[in-house]
């Protein structure tokens, strides 16, 4: 007989095991879907999860995709830990890319070591500016940050659209919706000859270390934790609630903006319409799959990055639409939420008493 028993306290081991379980269940369900579609499940999963990263190039692509996911998810965890629901990282990424791209375009025919730092900084500032809108509206006008941050995503994409077809479009570009190529000095350096992985990965790793330190070692991290559990307690303790809301949104926006910089100055090298395959939204899944824990987020970003690559390989080798990748991302989140049930309940197998 199977019995479901409430746990006395959420188990810490289960807390970190459920993401693993969720990934396992996603594989099983994914295999089943492939089977129904008429593919051999194991072969399909191999194309999806193993073939893409089996060589050096594939591994570099994996890190390339994981970098923005990790960076954004780290930023988002500042918001989520303190009870602020910023789901507009995609917009902050886009706006950061617009600002840094704009700066990079100013220097399109110049060289100089000083250009890249300015471009990076501009991206962070752009992301922060864009994140400050929902933060200020929330603190001073009591608006709902979920709605505001989400809607601003579409605004930013339309601004980008306007810029790349209009004022910023490449004068020698035959009316393609894209800007000039940035100068080499505005590009993040590649790490290895022939591979696309670039120096942006160091930004992500730095964010991991800094966030770990802030979460667990600083007063700010403590205040975020308290506010995350109970805003009433935060008020009673005398924390400056409005300041903190704005601060976490700024941090989150800066991270997303940096991710945007990484995309346009890394692999792309110019602004065009499609600078991000929804990294800003997918990073929400990464943040939760990683349990809002910096180290967890590294692993989660690698896992979720595979779904991007796998979708492409599967499209090429098996003629499966690449949107399967989104199906997998959705399933991971679904199974994660479902297996969170085990945090609070345990399943007991007991022999019949009689």
């Amino acid at each position: 007989m199977i019995k479901i028993v409430k746990r006395d306290q959420p188990s810490r081991a289960i807390f970190f095991l459920t993401p693993v379980l969720a990934i396992f269940l996603t594989l099983v369900a994914g295999g089943l879907i492939f089977y129904i579609l008429g593919f051999k499940p194991f072969e399909a999963l191999k194309f999806f999860f193993i073939v893409p990263i089996a060589d050096k190039y594939g591994f570099s692509e994996l890190l390339l995709k994981a970098t923005p996911l990790c960076l954004i998810a780290i930023g988002l965890s500042f918001c989520f830990k303190s009870n602020n629901w910023n789901i507009g990282a995609e917009g902050q990424l886009t706006f950061g890319a617009i600002v840094s791209g704009g700066v990079a375009l100013l220097f399109y025919d110049q060289e100089g070591f000083y250009i890249l730092p300015i471009v990076i900084l501009a991206g962070a500032i752009g992301g922060m500016l864009y994140a400050s809108i929902p933060a200020i509206l929330k603190t001073y006008f009591n608006t709902n940050e979920i709605l505001v941050s989400l809607m601003l995503v579409y605004v930013s994409k339309l601004i980008l659209d306007y810029l790349v077809v209009g004022p910023w479009s490449n004068p020698e570009g035959f009316n393609f919706p894209e800007t000039r190529q940035f100068s080499e000095s505005a590009r993040l350096p590649l790490l290895f000859e022939g591979l696309r992985i670039h120096a942006g990965i160091f930004l992500a790793l730095a964010a991991v270390v800094i966030s770990w330190f802030i979460f667990y070692k600083t007063y700010l991290g403590f205040q975020m934790k308290v506010s995350g559990f109970s805003l009433k307690t935060a008020k009673y303790a005398g924390y400056k609630g409005k300041k903190m809301i704005i601060l976490v949104f700024l941090i989150s926006g800066a991270c997303a903006g940096l991710a945007g910089v990484g995309e346009i100055t890394g692999p792309i090298g110019q602004l065009h319409r499609e600078i991000s395959p929804d990294y800003g939204f997918t990073a929400i899944i990464v943040a939760f799959l990683g349990r809002l824990n910096p180290v967890g987020i590294i692993f989660a970003s690698l896992v979720v990055a595979i779904t991007y690559l796998g979708a492409e390989t599967a499209q090429i080798f098996m003629q499966i639409p690449k949107y399967t990748g989104q199906v997998f991302q959705g399933m991971i989140l679904f199974f994660l939420l479902a297996s969170d049930y085990l945090l609070f309940f345990k399943i007991k197998f007991i022999g019949s008493k009689k």
């Binding site: 991290g221 403590f222 934790k225 559990f229 109970s230 307690t233 009673y236 303790a237 400056k240």
Partner: protein
């Protein structure tokens, strides 16, 4: 029709503790039964078994000789067992009516009619269209009671129902309960308040440490005998000795304090004036929902007021936040232990760090000084008798009494000049109440001051030097505790006048 409820050899074992040890009890309708015991005696487990929330390891329950299988609260409802829990199960953002209709099978029109009838019959007045979060604790309780009554229960179990009620409300509740009993509803009344048992009940079962200690008729018992059975030792009564050397040095003075809330369901405060001298305890009595919570928040700095309205040891502090006020040696113990004063999911030492006082050096240059916090926590645990030696324990595993000791300890260990506390003994057992009361008296003796906002009149009469009553956001004149009686307080709490 008469109802007979029988509990037969019920046992429930948790890891490391026997919550119910072979309990057998029998109840008949037409009588009101008290289930008496300290916190942790096992009475909550027993009533949760009766209401289907917990399934016992052994034993059976019979209703009118038929065996009851209670596997979930739904089974209890189906078998006409109604339960009003101590902690409310209401959706805060939904209206009263929406809360009531959620688990009802009736049409909205029928239900509304039924609710109106019940409210009329028992003199409840609650606006059905108001969101529950705007109700006072007392009103929320009434919503819970109405929710049970809608189902015409045969058995009604009340878990600590008066912990949020005032004396007037309590006597109204008692009248209602007696009326239910006359209507042949079997009432089981869980409490640790002895006076209530003596006043209301016909028979009493006492539990201690998971065991049934005695079952007897109320007329064969008195408060002392019951207290001894409950605690298992002879209680010493504490009485505050009036401070003979009452200092005349004013510590806090509140002048013309007004508060107008944007939320129409909060209470506005009107022209509040009082002062407290060093070594004094000012008690503020009142029915819950008359502005106590607003007053507490203004005194603690959660709500900022006019700078000049609060003067504390010669500084005007009305515009400071709680953390800044702590630096002036004020300390605060809010009403809600689990949702405000502490965070159950955090460890004990983390909860200690919530009172961040500059000289405690919990945080240096923005970094957490964990060793310092832990050291400090250990001191609180030993100085204030918190029954654990593990400061890494999550505070949700502390009993209400121990948690409150931790909170009071956290606030007092910085030796503040003024402690402001709001219902500090709400829902605690006799032992913990005594401890908290002794502590409060002790700090008065050390020439420290207290503002005690409480709905418990006995507590106020026992601890205060001066008492005032808050009614609809206005304070009555401040009376010396010697000239006050609970009758006088009752009149003022109800909005009446005394000479």
């Amino acid at each position: 029709m008469n109802t007979n409820l029988k509990i037969s050899n019920v046992t429930k074992i948790y890891p490391g503790c026997i919550a119910n040890d072979n309990i057998s009890l029998e109840f008949e309708s037409g009588k009101i039964y008290a289930l008496l015991g300290e916190n942790g005696a096992g009475k909550s487990t027993l009533v949760k078994i009766l209401s289907g929330v917990i399934i016992p390891d052994e034993g059976e329950i019979f209703l009118n000789k038929n065996i009851l299988k209670l596997n979930s609260p739904i089974d209890a409802k189906k078998n006409d067992i109604g339960m009003v829990f101590q902690h409310f199960n209401l959706f805060e953002t939904l209206s009263v009516f929406e809360n009531l209709i959620i688990d009802s099978e009736e049409t909205p029109e029928n239900l509304k009619e039924k609710i109106q009838l019940i409210m009329k019959k028992y003199n409840f007045s609650i606006n059905l269209d108001v969101p529950v979060l705007n109700l006072s604790a007392g009103q929320k309780q009434k919503v819970e009671i109405i929710r049970c009554l809608i189902r015409n229960p045969k058995v009604l179990i009340m878990d600590e129902p008066t912990s949020v009620l005032t004396e007037q409300e309590t006597s109204e509740l008692f009248l209602s309960l007696k009326k239910f009993s006359e209507e042949k509803i079997l009432i089981i009344y869980i409490t640790h308040k002895l006076k209530e048992v003596m006043k209301l009940c016909d028979e009493v079962a006492v539990m201690r440490r998971g065991k049934l200690v005695s079952v007897s008729k109320i007329k064969d018992e008195n408060i002392e005998s019951l207290a001894t059975k409950m605690v298992g030792q002879n209680l010493k009564t504490i009485k505050k000795k009036k401070s003979s050397i009452s200092s005349s040095e004013q510590l806090i003075k509140v002048t013309d304090l007004n508060f107008t809330s944007e939320d129409p369901f909060e209470t506005n405060l009107e022209n509040i004036n009082f002062s407290v001298n060093r070594g004094e305890c000012l008690g503020i009595a009142g029915i819950s929902g008359n502005g106590q919570s607003e007053l507490f928040q203004i005194l603690s700095g959660e709500i900022i007021s006019d700078k000049n309205s609060i003067k504390f040891s010669n500084n005007f502090i009305g515009d400071l936040n709680p953390q800044e006020r702590r630096e002036y040696l004020m300390a605060f113990s809010p009403e809600d232990r689990l949702e405000q004063a502490a965070i159950p999911q955090m460890k004990i030492f983390e909860n200690v760090a919530l009172n961040n006082f500059k000289s405690s050096n919990f945080f240096n240059n923005g970094l957490i000084n964990e060793n310092r916090i832990k050291e400090h926590s250990k001191k609180i645990i030993s100085d204030f008798n918190v029954n654990t030696d593990n400061i890494e324990l999550k505070s949700q595993f502390l009993s209400g009494g121990n948690l409150q000791k931790l909170i009071i300890g956290r606030e007092l260990i910085t030796s503040p000049d003024l402690l402001i506390c709001f219902n500090p003994t709400w829902g605690l057992d006799v032992g913990a109440i005594n401890y908290i009361h002794e502590t409060l008296i002790k700090i008065n003796d050390q020439n420290k001051s207290i503002i005690l906002i409480s709905t418990d009149t006995d507590e106020l009469l026992k601890l205060s030097d001066k008492i005032s009553v808050i009614h609809k956001g206005k304070l009555s004149k401040i009376m010396s505790a010697d000239e006050v009686t609970s009758e006088k307080l009752g009149i003022l709490m109800g909005g009446g006048e005394i000479d």
